[in-house]
């Protein structure tokens, strides 16, 4: 049976708070943890499959043009080689998140350096890898578009992404304090530690793919569409995903190429992207040029706000980094101008990298706000507090909840912000200049259609959904919701995830996974509670479920007894409704950092960093905190080291590996502090939870950059804040 909820009205009942099991929100260890720490959780490339052979991609070395000829026979004759394939269905680039259909396909027309053009299949990985290096592909180059800021390249301004309100020029002219500056952020790579990989096997016309995917419902459709077969014939299995951060939202080359190859050679095929291929053929975050204009009166009240962004993308893709996503509602200002421009380039496809939009948009806006605070001589925390709007400044919708003010206050208190000395270069420890900086955090929140099956049997509870756990804690938080609602101890709950044979959900992305699929679990559990209540002849509200017992009045019945051998199984479905439209929904927070800048070398070290976050109900304080640590660390990388460098001659990514693209390492990250604020957002979901996976990066880099300014008086407007940029001004 199915229980259904359309989220049309806010849910203020906070039902989870009136339950008795006491597990919701608790900092429980991850349920699948023992498998992960013992190396027995099985990732995509690790499934034991008989007669497996291996495929390796061969890729373009030019930026634009087409394939003239592939000299296949010398390679086909090599040891162990089973096939050389250049099927028309190979992807140009991976699908974008929630596409649900194939991206641009075809390996003959070339759009960027690194584009897959063919693959070699061989008995062993070593043979395939060697043979792939020997495949000669003759190409004809045509002129490529490579410079994102060239004046001669057309810029698109998509409708619906531009805002113009009042008269910003006038506000700027009349302002007591103003900022008009241009900032740059470079491209970023998700760089999940598990490279994309797939093992494909056919059984007649039925395809099973073990792959590393974030959004199975969509990925199934995308893979089927790419192959030209019915989605019902495709099964994707992805119970463990070695990190995603957006890079595995859409189906990628590995799954499609492995499926084509497996069909061609009549055997299962494994294809793992090399690290270099991950950098060059999966999604990059677009670089951006951002102009910010801020106009303020003498007290620092914003009268004008402008945010113009230029990002790049391949031709034919609809996604573009939504840079100003949070700028639309973060600060009040009557006169507003938000411009979003796209330039079409021959570079690796641009797509989602953790918090597309806010990650770089908030970072730049919050850097500019710091500049305004300095110029106006107002404390940066006070400046933000002063400009919090009481409704959406563009469309006048009320906020579902708004915790920025509390986050700023709490952060300032915990970080001892009052000790900060506003004058740069005023704290020194030997060679090191010490500075403090802060920034606001915001990330839009959404609920997506989701389904889950919850079965209460004599042995305990089983939760099933195609939702994935990419390190987000899904296994555990879904079990906590069911455990709380049904009064069943955690060790009697099983969560089964990551298989398209299970009820579909929106997957992991956009921070919506836990609140959406968690709501589906909740809806199913409410129905199960109602059924138990009926059996006991009481109202669901009067029913207490705890430790495997149903208690009404002074009667306690073991759930096992009550159910006998007829388990109750309910499919819970949640769908977004009116609450997604009537109010503006966002999560909020505040970042604080203390850095040291070396006065001789300009090296920057992060000494302390605090994030205060409000994201509705916290489902598991331990895993939620870890999500925030992850986001904040991405922020450290964005602030100081991460940067995709493109060769101006052909657009290729020069630093396409982990030695040259610098993720933060352990020694770069101090003991970060995370404070989660108590909140229930009735508009967000029936469990009052919002997303938290991306909030921790949304503005994080700015607090470090602002602290660098406070330490040494150098303002860097081009991320990352590397020593050469500081040294030049020191």
């Amino acid at each position: 049976m199915t229980a259904y909820l359309k989220m049309d009205e806010p849910d203020r009942r906070n039902r989870l708070d009136s339950m008795a099991q006491g597990v919701i929100g608790q900092p429980l260890d991850r349920m699948e943890g023992p498998l992960k720490v013992s190396g027995t959780a099985r990732y995509a490339h690790e499934w034991p499959v008989e007669r497996l052979c291996h495929a390796v991609l061969v890729r373009s070395t030019i930026a634009r043009g087409h394939v003239v000829r592939i000299d296949r026979s010398p390679v086909e004759a090599m040891d162990g080689v089973l096939a050389v394939i250049d099927d028309d269905r190979l992807l140009r680039n991976p699908a974008q998140g929630t596409a649900g259909k194939a991206p641009v396909q075809g390996p003959r027309e070339i759009f960027y350096v690194g584009q897959p053009l063919a693959l070699v299949v061989a008995e062993s990985f070593e043979q395939a890898r060697h043979a792939a290096t020997q495949l000669r592909i003759e190409t004809m180059a045509t002129e490529a578009v490579l410079d994102p800021e060239s004046e001669s390249t057309d810029r698109e301004r998509p409708e619906g992404k531009q805002t113009s309100q009042g008269d910003l020029d006038r506000a700027m002219a009349e302002a007591s304090h103003s900022i008009d500056a241009v900032y740059h952020t470079p491209g970023h790579s998700s760089a999940a530690m598990e490279p994309h990989a797939a093992i494909a096997q056919w059984d007649g016309d039925d395809l099973t793919v073990h792959a590393s995917c974030q959004m199975l419902k969509y990925n199934q459709e995308e893979l089927a569409d790419a192959l030209g077969i019915d989605a019902g014939r495709v099964r994707i299995v992805s119970p463990y995903v070695g990190g995603g951060f957006g890079s595995k939202l859409g189906i990628a080359h590995d799954a499609v190429a492995a499926a084509i190859a497996a069909r061609a050679v009549g055997r299962p095929v494994a294809l793992a992207l090399s690290r270099r291929q991950v950098f060059e053929t999966t999604m990059r975050r677009s670089e951006s040029r951002q102009r910010i204009r801020l106009a303020a009166d003498a007290d620092g009240l914003l009268t004008g706000l402008g945010h113009e962004a230029l990002v790049s993308q391949l031709p034919g893709e609809t996604f573009s980094e939504p840079v100003a996503q949070a700028t639309h509602f973060l600060y009040a200002a009557e006169n507003r101008e938000i411009i979003h421009e796209i330039v079409r380039l021959n570079r690796t496809c641009a797509g989602s990298v953790r918090a597309p939009g806010e990650a770089i948009g908030m970072t730049v806006l919050e850097t500019a706000m710091d500049e305004l605070a300095v110029k106006a001589g107002i404390d940066p925390v006070a400046l933000r507090k002063r400009n919090i709007p009481d409704k959406d400044p563009e469309d006048q919708r009320p906020f579902s909840s708004h915790m920025l003010d509390q986050a700023l206050d709490r952060g300032a208190e915990l970080f001892d912000w009052q000790r900060r000395r506003p004058e740069p270069r005023s704290t020194r420890r030997g060679e090191w200049l010490i500075g403090l900086g802060m920034s606001s955090a915001a990330r839009v929140n959404s609920l997506m259609q989701a389904e889950s099956r919850v079965t209460l049997g004599g042995e305990g509870v089983r939760i099933e959904t195609d939702m994935t756990d990419i390190g987000t804690g899904t296994y555990t938080v879904l079990a906590q919701i069911a455990g709380e609602m049904l009064g069943v101890p955690m060790d009697r709950i099983t969560t089964v995830l990551g298989d398209t044979d299970l009820p579909p959900g929106p997957g992991s992305g956009g921070s919506w996974g836990a609140s959406s699929t968690g709501s589906a679990v909740y809806v199913a559990c409410e129905e199960i509670r109602a059924r138990i209540a009926r059996k006991l002849g009481c109202r669901a509200e009067d029913l207490t479920l705890k430790d495997g017992h149903a208690i009404t009045g002074n009667r306690s019945t073991a759930l096992g007894e009550l159910i006998g051998d007829a388990p109750i199984s309910v499919r819970g479905v949640v769908e977004p409704g009116g609450t997604s439209k009537k109010v503006r929904q966002s999560t909020y927070g505040a970042f604080f950092a203390e850095v040291a800048v070396n006065d001789v070398t300009a090296e920057v070290r992060v000494r302390r960093m605090l994030g205060v976050f409000a994201a509705g109900r916290i489902l598991n304080a331990k895993t939620a905190r870890s999500q925030c640590l992850g986001g904040m660390t991405f922020g450290i990388g964005m602030a100081l080291t991460e940067e995709l460098i493109h060769d101006p001659r052909d657009g290729s990514i020069v630093n396409r590996d982990l030695a040259e693209y610098h993720l933060p390492v352990n020694a770069d990250v101090p003991q970060l502090e995370v404070e989660l604020l108590e909140e229930r957002d009735p508009w967000a979901s029936p469990i009052q939870a919002k997303g938290i996976g991306e909030l921790g990066i949304s503005g994080a880099a700015a607090c470090i950059n602002n602290a660098v300014f406070n330490a040494c008086g150098v303002r860097v407007r081009s991320y990352p804040v590397t020593l050469d940029k500081i040294l030049a001004e020191l």
Binding site: D29, F125, Q127, G243, G471, F634, L658, V665, N666, V669
Partner: protein, 168 residues
């Protein structure tokens, strides 16, 4: 090519291509998939195993170079139902999220604690002689060959600190 390896105390006769790395030998040939491949170029540490008592990146060495060697992988450190002290500490401190870098982190940390005990200094040690004190800074420095994109570093440090403390 034939190579004899002792892995987690068990003898294995490996028949593999000379080009096969120790990492691929473990994962593809011996089905010990606990050791992970993150880069295949010695840049991430996901493939860390312990060879003759020392931690190495198994992607940077060929299997056939290890004839007669004693190798410990994550499978030899503890099992899901019988975790080592360090594995349990990672679980309690949430020293992982996606879990992909985790076996490498744990193998690395296991060997690292022995290096500290043996008095090896690091870049951040105050002095070159005597056993270094296991400060957070020492742990962070010594574990910086193991990348974690989920970025559990503070929790990894906490887990190692706790495990070292309880072993002492």
């Amino acid at each position: 090519m034939h190579t004899q390896l002792t892995i987690n105390g068990e003898n294995h006769d490996l028949e593999a291509d000379e080009r096969t790395t120790l990492l691929d030998a473990l994962r593809q040939h011996l089905r010990l998939t606990g050791t992970k491949k993150g880069c295949d170029h010695g840049q991430c540490g996901a493939c860390t195993v312990i060879v003759n008592g020392r931690r190495i990146n198994s992607c940077l060495t060929l299997a056939c170079m290890h004839d007669g060697d004693e190798i410990v992988t994550i499978e030899g450190i503890g099992t899901a139902t019988d975790l080592s002290v360090l594995q349990q500490a990672f679980l309690s401190a949430d020293g992982f999220q996606c879990g992909y870098c985790t076996p490498g982190q744990i193998c690395s940390a296991t060997a690292m604690l022995e290096e500290v005990k043996a008095g090896w200094p690091s870049h951040v040690s105050d002095r070159l002689d005597g056993a270094p004190e296991l400060s957070d800074e020492e742990i962070g420095e010594r574990m910086s060959g193991n990348l974690c994109r989920c970025a559990c570093y503070p929790n990894i440090v906490a887990a190692i600190r706790a495990a070292a403390g309880s072993a002492a």
